[in-house]
Subunit: 414 residues, 2 copies
């Protein structure tokens, strides 16, 4: 096992300002102060990218340490690799702590553009390209390893539109790797998988992509493979309620969040048979710029009451945006999805396409479930999309230098 390089935890967040709570918020001796650091609303660290003037985009470092894990509020780079792992039989709290110490150390180094300890291909580490590594704990960790001490990740209820495939099932752990360079992602993934292998077994790997760095104007919302602007109505990190929507305040998870993963297959073959007007009506937005059918620009607020000359609603009440939008502002969450497109010889054009839908919410039951229930009940898009994988993970708060992700949490077990 890799030894911990810093025996005394360093008490600084590199490059970032942090508001510290009073000592009374400390949850226990020896747990460091990450829980304390997030006990008060913390200045959001959305853009934690190091921008040395003149440096190449490949040199961008997103700091791993902090009150929140990186890879949530940080801007999504081009490539995603999401790993689902199960702890090996007999691995308990001590083993999980060893694993998380090891993987956190790997992540801290790799995200800075430094080789992991005993990195077998150190030169592949030198281009961090905004690499982030984000860890999530599945329901079994809370039920069996923490003995119910922490109110953590819970399975989603079933939805009528799900057609879940066992290959994409819930796992004990999720590791979300994101960066703007595919070789960087491949190397980080391999180092993490290798270091995990003694204690955990990979069940699936879900790779995805968005726009490559610098290819489109800054601030362009990504498009999915259906051609739609996807992610317009997403809380911005600058929104006053961003912290409330995203960061948990539950004991043990304060400063953490929850990751909802849905693998959504898109039936592009039948979607492509629909004409442009039919597609726009199904979504409720224009295809060219993503504006709601009642508006002109992408970020115009949809007017669900607007009617046309015949008195019919301009935005179909069964359209995706009408069904997804709630009158209750608490029913929002942060989406950070990626397109997927993988070879599949069994399908007409030889590939399976869709979305690795990743959402973050402080409270899945309160924010995500009602929306998904409404969509499962009625959404014109359901004709072309099917959820084939589903999982939920609690994303523990971030850790300080010398600590590991989940350290405080594991100290709370019964």
């Amino acid at each position: 096992m890799t030894p911990d390089p810093a025996s005394a935890p360093a008490r600084t967040w590199s490059r970032r300002r942090v508001l510290q709570a009073g000592a009374g918020a400390l949850t226990g001796a020896g747990l460091g102060w990450s829980a304390a650091a997030v006990a008060l609303p913390v200045e959001d660290s959305t853009d934690r990218t190091d921008r040395t003037p003149g440096a190449l985009p490949g040199a961008r470092v997103v700091e791993f340490h902090g009150p929140h894990q990186a890879g949530v509020s940080t801007p999504p780079p081009a490539h995603l690799s999401l790993l689902g792992l199960d702890l090996r039989r007999g691995v308990g709290a001590a083993g999980l702590a060893r694993l998380m110490r090891l993987l956190s150390d790997d992540a801290a180094r790799l995200t800075r553009g430094r080789p992991a300890l005993a990195d077998t291909e150190p030169e592949l580490a030198f281009t961090p390209a905004a690499l982030t590594v984000t860890f999530g704990f599945g329901p079994r960790i809370f039920d069996e390893i923490l003995g119910g001490a922490v109110d953590g990740a819970k399975p989603l209820p079933p939805f009528a539109t799900d057609a879940l495939e066992k290959q994409w099932r819930q796992t004990d752990l999720a590791v979300q790797i994101c960066a703007d360079d595919p070789t960087t992602v491949a190397h980080a993934r391999r180092m993490l998988l290798k270091d995990a292998t003694g204690l955990a077994r990979p069940r699936w790997i879900q790779n995805g992509f968005r726009d490559a760095y610098g290819m489109r104007p800054d601030g362009t919302t990504m498009r999915n493979l259906m051609g739609q602007v996807d992610g317009t109505a997403n809380p911005a990190a600058t929104d006053p309620d961003f912290a409330e929507l995203v960061w948990s305040r539950r004991p043990g998870l304060t400063g953490g969040t929850f990751l909802v993963l849905r693998r959504i297959r898109v039936e592009l073959e039948t979607w492509d048979q629909v004409d442009r007007a039919g597609r726009e009506a199904a979504v409720g937005r224009r295809l060219d710029n993503g504006a709601p059918l009642t508006g002109r620009d992408e970020h115009d607020v949809p007017d669900f009451a607007a009617t046309d000359a015949l008195g019919l609603p301009v935005i179909d009440p069964a359209s995706h945006i009408a069904r997804a939008r709630s009158a209750n502002p608490a029913q929002r969450f942060l989406r950070r999805g990626y397109n997927y497109c993988v070879p599949d010889p069994s399908r007409p054009t030889g590939e399976d396409s869709g979305l690795v839908f990743v959402a973050f919410a402080a409270d899945v039951e309160r924010q995500f479930v009602p929306v998904q229930r409404r969509l499962a009940e009625l959404d014109r898009l359901n004709q072309w999309i099917t959820t084939i994988g589903s999982a939920v993970y609690a994303v523990p708060p971030g850790c300080a230098e010398g600590e590991f992700v989940g350290q405080a949490l594991l100290g709370m077990r019964r």
Copy 2:
């Protein structure tokens, strides 16, 4: 089927200068003049990228039309998708011509950042990101459809180190799609696959990656997933013998080339057990900067005669560079390979990694086969690499606006 938009072929190469040969080189009426245009050595069009000042890198256009197909001498962008297709039963010369007219038209539009005809997701076409589409014809096209009229693609001889898997077998056609944006690649691939589907069936899709655009200093040689600098000894487009090494002068294929595809699996698990010195000895190059073990910089010429204090050769005669290098300068070719790394639950770390080795040569038998034969006989790297897929395609010369790739060739059939 999509009608041809230009009934009279336009006789200009957009944005590029072309040396025209005399009319005597024309191969036949109605075949346009692409064959003529390449009957003389043509100024190499390696960098055919449109660089409008201030434009985003996503706006870069690599011109599709020209005496050579794009995607050979043009600099390799970040992403590769190589499609292997077989013509459907009963599709002959007329069907192949229809298919190539359709796909050439798609490619000409998409590479300019314009939607394909009847593009179902036109907005996904607006960021060409240096997109190239390159077409290759497999041996069966020459034997059965052209009736042996043209000396075209021939299968490679078997090599002792091959462990070919049927899933990666030779196909009738190859379509190489490259661009710096993964969404651009996905959209182009889907349009081409959809338009091909009536006449051809996809057998495999091989995706790969190199460094993302702008992440590393210009001129950095890519690294493969073994951590090696890969592609140092590659003829540069500015080399005086580049045209001779790459562009065919065979009747019907003048200005074309041959594509050798080898899917090379790397056994990273055992490679990672080898220490740094052992790895450098196996390759003959330093891992840190790719310099030969007798040199200091990546591009230093290896000194195979140099010996150490004990009188032993500094570069092992069984090392990869010693075995790959030939005293015969004609035994060189252009490599344009991409890393691959795909989920594979049957493998220890859950993924299968390697190289989609793509090479271009004017004469495969003369340039590639002797080198590969030597490597199959002895190469210390063979311990960790296995060729699991192999195919050869003739890449017809480029076409002019209003023509299609393979047009002159199909006019030559017996």
